[in-house]
Amino acid sequence: MLGPDVAWYLAVAAFLFSTGALGVLLRRNPLIVLLSLEIMLNGANLALIGYARHLGDGSGQVFAIAVMAVAASEVVVGLGLVVALNRKRIVLDVDRLNTLRG
């Protein structure tokens, strides 16, 4: 395999995953929390594809595509919630969204 070993890709994946976790924990704007979730999912995807290449097995790539489909669904529901909150004039701050009354 030309270029770096799969271990380097896994290091990048670990860094990306923890960057996304930092964003989820740190930020208060739900839109940026969703963007950070995307970074976490992509870190996991990079690890899956790295291992797929390492083991010579295409199942990791298949699973990465399934993860992408789940991420797209999550974005649809998350952005729908954000738009619904905005229409009800609720402040978009995840620290202040602590009641579930319809």
């Binding site: 380097w8 960057t19 839109l31 992509n42 990079l46 529901v77 952005l79």
Partner: protein, 184 residues
């Protein structure tokens, strides 16, 4: 031999650029105060990840990444950000709060944990990758795997997408019905 080592250097160089672009834009997504710039940085992140996927011979996943993520999902994000309006929030302003310190510590602990576990459990076997055929990662190979070995996952994914589409419609319709009662 010389050709092989020149190819090696080239792949390393491309990897360096893509990996550092990926890490830098990831940090930029988390630190920008304007969500619009965060979304633009995430497009860069997804593009450089697609380059890494190409280096790992995952051509179809790289193409799907650019089309689905950087194309469709990010356009949806940018539309919603434009609809809601820019809402500034500076994550690092006002000195370190206990929340920020805790978040950085937790994320750092997570990264150390992942690297230690991979290093302990798999470091010996990571040096020699398997040899792959020319069909590895092509659309036909992915399609064959989806329709033979992973048919159940394929069908479940379609149900998840259908439920998400219905959920999006219901959330939107609900908000629209509530709007007259919220007005004067």
């Amino acid at each position: 031999m010389i050709l092989a080592s020149a190819g090696n250097v080239l792949v390393w160089a491309v990897w360096m650029v893509a990996a550092f672009a990926c890490l830098g834009s990831g940090i930029a997504v988390v630190s920008f105060s304007n969500p619009f710039f965060s979304a633009l940085a995430l497009i860069g992140n997804l593009g450089s990840l697609a380059v890494l996927y190409l280096l790992l011979s995952a051509e179809f996943v790289a193409a799907a990444q650019v089309l689905v993520y950087a194309g469709a999902v990010m356009v949806m994000f940018l539309f919603v950000i434009a609809y809601i309006g820019p809402r500034q929030e500076s994550p690092w302003a006002g000195g370190p709060s206990w929340q920020a310190v805790g978040a950085v510590l937790a994320a750092g602990a997570l990264m150390v944990e992942i690297i230690v576990v991979i290093g302990l459990k798999a470091s010996g076997s990571l040096a020699h990758s398997a040899h792959i055929g020319s069909s590895f990662g092509t659309p036909s190979e992915i399609g064959r795997l989806f329709l033979t070995d992973h048919l159940l996952a394929f069908e479940v994914t379609s149900i998840v997408l259908l439920v998400a589409a219905i959920g999006g419609v219901i959330l939107g319709a609900h908000a629209r019905r509530e709007q007259p009662s919220a007005g004067p």
